[in-house]
């Protein structure tokens, strides 16, 4: 009983967090109410009464504006002060100043109420829209609500020059013509990673899906890519609309834990991108695709939470990360767990070293250049990173509400794409099957940006297409912005096609002006490396120090992440897979979150 109550409280607190977390950053107050911009299918909606966020943290919109824009039918009953909005056979009924609403004839309770402002009926946007089958996406960076009533991506734009329009879905099909960058295309169909498109001149053919960007971001197809774009849907109880897989993580690539029959009800305890972390009645936990569930609206959340849960139970998502913090001025790292073993290197006070083993009083730690060593337990203190500090949107300690990424300024540098003398764009490494590093890292960077923004960070990209900036110019963007960290995103290459794996670089040599950041830069590199390896599952090729231009010229902690080897055929195929690219972005984001969580405590 108590357990159930606690679970429920946690769920409510989490959804409150998700809401406040989503609306607070950058909210502009006008008459004490943050204003919101509305976009319908990508176009800005303007009305005589602006949309705003009410005291229950819900976006309120004039019903006629949005209702009629969507082609819904709005009936206003003056006498009863009720509104009926219908779209096809879906009907939502609302009463002014009442939390009672009807959805398809069923009475439900909302967590806020419709009101009349300036003679305009203002209704809770998400409640109305989602119950009418539209999709609502909050963009905290621009304080914009996007409403999409279209089921799929329809318009795309080419992100690269010289994209081949082919007769079929694959590079083996003959080329019809070569299209320049920024060409707009209408999507007719999709096959795997390829899109069947029509050009504006009416020509039909196929283009590679990884060389386009959505002009309209719309609902993904089931089984599509988790984008990590949106804030978590604000639902507490859901049921699945068909037979749905319960998975170990927020993507179709994760292990299936169970098959949930249509109608199974569950509690939402977290969200990542379009996926929901849920708990079933029998206590089982896992992830389901957010687009395969429907909200079951239950009682109001109480205004004041009755009991705060003591602490979250330890994570079920991977091992807790332990760090050895050096607390003596210079400490020896040895090749074995005893002072009789030879010296490997020395570390300084304040350095963090990930712990990978333990024997007696000694800890085995991970160091740069792929080295490991043993350090005396009495010269370090051990920090365990609980799920509370992970800040990954689930298992969060509700008392510690701030996402470690919130408020941080993060510069993402998608590698390559630099215009060279002679006016060609540096493609970076090119895979045997024609995949360009330049394009792959752009996609990962955009996904990373969306995740970071959804978690409250301010993000600056050094490029979105090609750039005339030099490597120093890219670093200068971060220096000028006063960024907290700089992350350069790359894919690696070697003369050996066998070489594979994930690597992270930092640069802060002893004796250089950057020496003061050595501990921070190493920590940042280790954490991002660990999280990338966990997220992508490729070989851990370690962290390295290298004199890379963007790392030398940045004044804040910086790393260069080599996600995987584009010169390795297996990893080239993976880098071509949007799910893998999303995993790379999630890994980097998680590493950054861990870094800021640790820095917040020191």
């Amino acid at each position: 009983m108590t357990g159930k109550l606690r679970q429920k409280t946690t769920a409510i607190l989490l959804s409150v967090f998700l809401l406040t977390g989503a609306v607070m950053p950058g909210a502009m107050a006008l008459e004490g109410r943050p204003l919101v911009q509305l976009r319908l299918n990508g176009s800005i909606l303007v009305g005589d009464t602006p949309a705003y966020i009410d005291s229950n943290n819900r976006t309120m919109v004039p019903i006629r504006l949005v209702g009629e824009s969507l082609g819904n039918v709005v009936d206003w009953n003056e006498q009863a002060r009720t509104v009926r909005i219908s779209r096809g056979d879906q009907v939502v009924g609302l009463t002014i100043n009442s939390r009672q609403a009807t959805v398809g004839g069923q009475v439900v309770t909302m967590d806020t109420e419709p009101v009349i402002v300036n003679n305009r009926t203002m209704v809770p946007l998400r409640f109305v829209m989602e119950n009418l089958g539209a999709r609502v996406i909050w963009d905290g960076a621009t304080n914009t609500v996007d409403i999409w009533n279209q089921p799929r991506v329809e318009r795309v734009v080419l992100t690269s020059d010289n994209v081949n329009l082919r007769q079929g879905a694959g590079t083996s099909f003959p080329r019809i013509e070569t299209l320049p960058k920024n060409t707009r295309l209408t999507v007719v169909a999709q096959s795997g990673e390829w899109l069947e498109v029509r050009t504006e001149s009416g020509k039909g053919g196929w283009v590679a899906g990884w060389l386009v960007q959505d002009l309209l971001v719309a609902a993904p197809d089931p089984g599509g890519v988790p984008d990590g774009v949106t804030t978590g849907p604000e639902v507490k109880r859901v049921e699945v609309t068909e037979n749905v897989n319960l998975r170990a993580g927020p993507a179709t690539t994760f292990t299936r834990l169970a098959l949930l029959p249509k109608g199974t009800a569950m509690t939402v305890i977290g969200a990542k991108g379009d996926w929901l972390e849920v708990r079933l009645e029998d206590g089982k936990q896992g992830w389901v695709a957010g687009w395969l569930v429907t909200e079951v609206v239950t009682a109001n959340p109480p205004a004041v939470p009755p009991v705060l849960p003591e602490k979250e139970t330890p994570s079920e998502h991977g091992e807790p990360l332990r760090l050895a913090v050096v607390n003596s001025s210079v400490v020896n790292v040895r090749s074995g767990p005893d002072i009789s073993f030879p010296l490997v290197t020395q570390v300084r006070s304040g350095q963090f070293l990930p712990v990978i083993g333990e024997q007696g009083d000694w800890y085995q730690v991970q160091m740069a250049e792929g080295k490991t060593g043993w350090i005396a337990g009495w010269l370090v203190s051990i920090r365990t990173l609980s799920t509370a500090a992970r800040g990954d949107g689930h298992g969060r300690d509700p008392v510690n509400r701030a996402d470690p990424l919130a408020g941080k300024i993060i510069v993402i540098d998608p590698g390559h794409g630099s215009i060279q003398p002679g006016n060609w764009s540096d493609p970076g490494a090119v895979g045997k099957n024609g995949l360009y590093e330049r394009d792959v890292v752009m996609d990962i960077s955009l996904r990373l940006r969306d995740i970071l923004i959804s978690r409250g960070a301010t993000v600056i990209l050094t490029r979105v297409g090609d750039t005339t900036l030099t490597l120093e110019g890219r670093a200068a963007i971060a220096n000028d912005a006063g960024a907290d960290v700089f992350v350069s995103v790359h894919a690696n290459a070697s003369t050996s096609r066998l070489l594979n794996g994930t690597t992270t670089y930092y640069y802060a040599p002893v004796g250089s002006p950057l020496e003061g950041q050595r501990a921070d830069r190493q920590l940042l590199a280790s954490l991002v490396q660990m999280e990338m390896v966990q997220a992508m599952g490729r070989r851990d090729a370690g962290i390295f120090e290298a004199s890379f231009s963007v790392l030398r010229n940045t004044t804040m902690p910086s790393i260069l992440a080599e996600t995987a080897f584009i010169s390795n055929p297996e990893e080239e195929a993976l880098l071509g897979d949007p799910v893998f690219r999303a995993q790379a972005a999630l890994g980097i984001a998680e590493g950054l979150a861990k870094y800021f969580a640790i820095k917040a405590e020191h």
Binding site: N162, S494, S496, E562
Partner: protein, 207 residues
């Protein structure tokens, strides 16, 4: 009779290859190392890998005293991750540093299992060793255009040159030039705008 037939067959094949090369430009010669040429503003022109001019081969006899000398070259190990030294006897010529870099360009000994670090088509245009130990090396633009990319490959390219040159007692630092100009980077990662010192951490430790 049969021999003749074979020859004409060979000729036909060669002719076809020639046609294929000049028309498609990216069939036979398409390789990782040459792909960047397609970005040098001529998408459909054939990739021609120019052999180093004759005067770039220092083994040609000016200043050759008849003696040989042992030099150390650094190539990539078979995994493409590290540098490994290869000792090689070369003619003791005037301009030994130039001859040594030319050996590096020529690549590892066949059967050594090592991998080259210098892209195809690269020519050492000039090398100048200052009395203070600074070696200034000037390569043609193929060093950048034909580089396969990747930070791992770029590090090996840069430090195979730096480590090979700093093996000479008269050299302790290296400055890169490309076509006579200072450049920021070869392949987008390593900063080569200033002088580079030897890098021991990239050399595979024997154990």
């Amino acid at each position: 009779m049969r021999g003749r037939k074979n020859i004409s067959l060979l000729l036909a094949v060669a002719l076809l290859l020639g046609v294929a090369l000049s028309t498609s430009g990216c069939g036979v010669t398409k390789s990782l190392t040459s792909l960047k040429d397609r970005f040098a503003g001529k998408d459909s022109t054939p990739v021609v890998e120019v052999p180093p001019p004759e005067n770039q081969l220092p083994v040609s006899h000016q200043g050759f005293s008849g003696e040989t000398i042992k030099v150390t070259l650094y190539f990539a190990d078979s995994t493409g991750s590290y540098l490994v030294p290869e000792e090689r006897n070369i003619p003791k010529v005037v301009g030994l540093a130039r001859a040594t870099i030319q050996e590096l360009i020529n690549g590892p000994m066949p059967g050594s299992g090592l991998l080259p670090t210098i892209p195809a088509g690269v020519v050492l245009k000039d090398i100048n060793i200052k009395p203070d130990g600074l070696a200034i090396v000037d390569f043609n633009k193929q060093l950048m255009l034909n580089h396969p990319g990747g930070s791992t490959a770029e590090k090996l390219t840069v430090y195979s040159i730096v480590n090979t040159l700093t093996k000479f007692p008269t050299v302790d630092r290296v400055q890169f030039l490309v076509e006579g100009q200072y450049v920021k980077t070869i392949a987008g990662h390593v900063d080569v705008s200033t002088v580079m010192g030897r890098n021991e951490s990239l050399i595979k430790r024997a154990n």
